[in-house]
Symmetry: C2
Subunit: 369 residues, 2 copies
């Protein structure tokens, strides 16, 4: 039986400084970059067993196991652990919080060394390559020069894809789940509405809401409620909630009454405590602009790539649907890269990548074996 990685803790590393700034792809630089990360398993003497896990939009470094005193397992605990697909008996797993985030890694709420105040909207817009550059610095910090595999779902998968483009020799295997090589206009549209909700909240204060002792919670809640609908499937909402209501018959109200409404309220509320609105703006925008195969250098960089790709989509995922995975695979194929592409059956929509639909974990395990 597969088990738990046990108790883990989040560590920190400083990966950029005034002497060694992170120069950003779009211009500008960050003079101080700190990264929160966790590791599971043991690094082999040959340093050749590293699996790097990238989280999705609102994830964090805590991917597996338990924090002392806390009850909640890491967000990918079903995937990572002894005997699990990302087998910690065999692999040394590295899981950082991403650049631009709000869970320990430098982001828009971090202090700008140049001013002594939080960056807020002065934080630079990030390119996927900037996130990858920080991941690569973290690997150097850990004394590792090559990944046995990079693994990620959604935005996590896109970071892995960019890593292969930026440094194909560093990634032996790439596992991309429910990812995309270019968002659809519909996808961009949903994120645009989320940003509108946050930025038009009177408590947004031009991004300097913390100074005002508030957060744009109304807008952030609406943004998350809407986004959450797009992460699940109509079918899963039907199965989970159907038309169950609190009230009976014609006793109607404008307030939440249907079970699905209470569920969305809960999703929106809990999001406020765990995520920062500015990070949400920056990371959704990073996704909108992600389009690596539009870059003329991408084909050249991938020309000699030997990375093996596994690309997986889920049939009920309408936010990052199979067409997007197929396009990704086709773009790689044009660069001469073979891709093991599969659409799996799952009723759970985009969130399937966090769950265990039939065949999914087996597929990842087989690819990593």
């Amino acid at each position: 039986m597969s088990g738990l990685v046990g108790y883990v803790e989040t560590r920190r590393a400083v990966l950029a400084s005034t002497a060694d700034p992170l120069v950003l792809r779009g211009g500008g630089r960050l003079d101080h970059v700190e990264v929160a990360y966790e590791t599971y398993g043991e690094l082999s003497p040959a340093r050749d067993n590293v699996v790097f896990v990238c989280h999705a939009l609102t994830g964090d470094a805590h991917a597996a196991g338990l924090h002392l005193g806390a009850k909640k397992r890491g967000w990918w605990d079903n995937m990572i652990g002894p005997g699990k697909p990302v087998d910690t008996d065999r692999f040394f797993v590295v899981s950082p919080n991403l650049l631009g985030g709000c869970s320990g890694t430098t982001g828009p709420q971090s202090i700008d060394p140049a001013t002594g105040s939080p960056y807020c909207l002065d934080f630079p817009l990030l390119h996927m390559s900037d996130l990858v550059a920080v991941h690569r610095r973290l690997m150097a910090h850990l004394g590792v020069s090559r990944l046995y595999a990079g693994v990620g779902g959604s935005l996590g998968g896109m970071q892995i894809l960019q890593w292969v483009i930026d440094a194909p020799e560093e990634v032996e295997r790439a596992v991309l789940v429910a990812a995309s090589s270019r968002l659809s206009p519909e996808n961009i549209a949903f994120s645009a509405v989320a940003r509108e909700a946050i930025m038009s909240d009177p408590d947004f204060h031009g991004g300097r809401y913390v100074e005002h002792g508030v957060t744009p919670r109304r807008g952030q809640k609406v943004a998350r409620m809407m986004a959450h609908i797009t992460y699940v499937s109509g079918q899963s909402l039907e199965t989970k909630f159907g038309h169950r209501r609190d009230r009976i018959g014609d006793d109607w109200t404008l307030a939440p009454d249907y079970a699905v409404e209470h569920y969305l309220q809960h999703q929106g509320e809990t999001f406020l405590d765990r995520f920062d609105a500015l990070s949400y703006l920056y990371l959704t925008r990073l996704l909108d602009y992600f389009d690596p195969f539009a870059d003329p250098w991408t084909h050249q960089r991938l020309a000699d790539a030997r990375t093996r790709f596994q690309v997986t989509s889920f049939d009920s995922d309408w936010r990052f649907d199979t067409a997007q995975s197929r396009r990704l695979a086709e773009c790689l194929a044009e660069c001469g890269i073979d891709v093991d592409l599969a659409e799996l059956t799952s009723p759970h929509g985009h969130d399937s990548f966090l769950l265990e639909p039939p065949g999914y974990h087996e597929r990842v395990a087989a690819f990593l074996a």
Copy 2:
């Protein structure tokens, strides 16, 4: 060739008064109901050529032709006119604004005769039957006791369905396009987010925003931007906008840049001028609770119905998808009613019912002929 109904004007009728109040299905009553409506074509001497048109969520009475001095044709001008499917050379067309609306018919912003102030949130929650009761009073006002046909798309179709349930002898033919006999939990979820956006706007003021000289425009804009995405298809956004942007390359911004973002901004902004937030709350909630076949009386009422039904859905409509039209048809079939059901091919999503995808107008015309 089919033509224009020409210049038309919106008329008003008072259909309920203290002496003859509208008693509501859920309890309570309205002591004054005024309806805005338009008519096109001529009522036949036998009064047997009436086609009643019901509009969707944010429509109004102006379905066809032009208002003097205005350039914009009615919202269903492609469907209604001489030689068009709803042929005004042959039919007398009646098109009212619905109860609870904000375009001339009594709604939440109307004056409550009991207080002399606008109802706002004291306006009663409406049942689909209440809207139908007002339609029926309008017909009586016009001296008509029976419809040649009732025609409507989306919420419009649902009003027609309820009409047949409430008074099957009054409707000879029912044309239901992109409608539903019960919203999906996903549908309810989207409307719940829209209401959250409006009601959490600080300018909502418990619904009494007009008194405060404001409107909850931020929330209302977000609500509409989101809803608009659900009215079109991913494919239509791809075709219309693709990945076109204002800026070039890595010149990135959090502000709208992609064409699809500008489009949504425009949709959100123009909605503010033409629709009231309270009407939006009331009418979306009416839709959530619409579930006529859950009512044990419905089967009994439809037992002797002779109404012929035409039910049409569109393959790219994911807000009111074919599964919902199919369920509607099956529920009618269980009551012994034959339904001409078809799914048409159209790339335009839910909005297809307002457009002219191949076969659609021909299908409606044939049914009404």
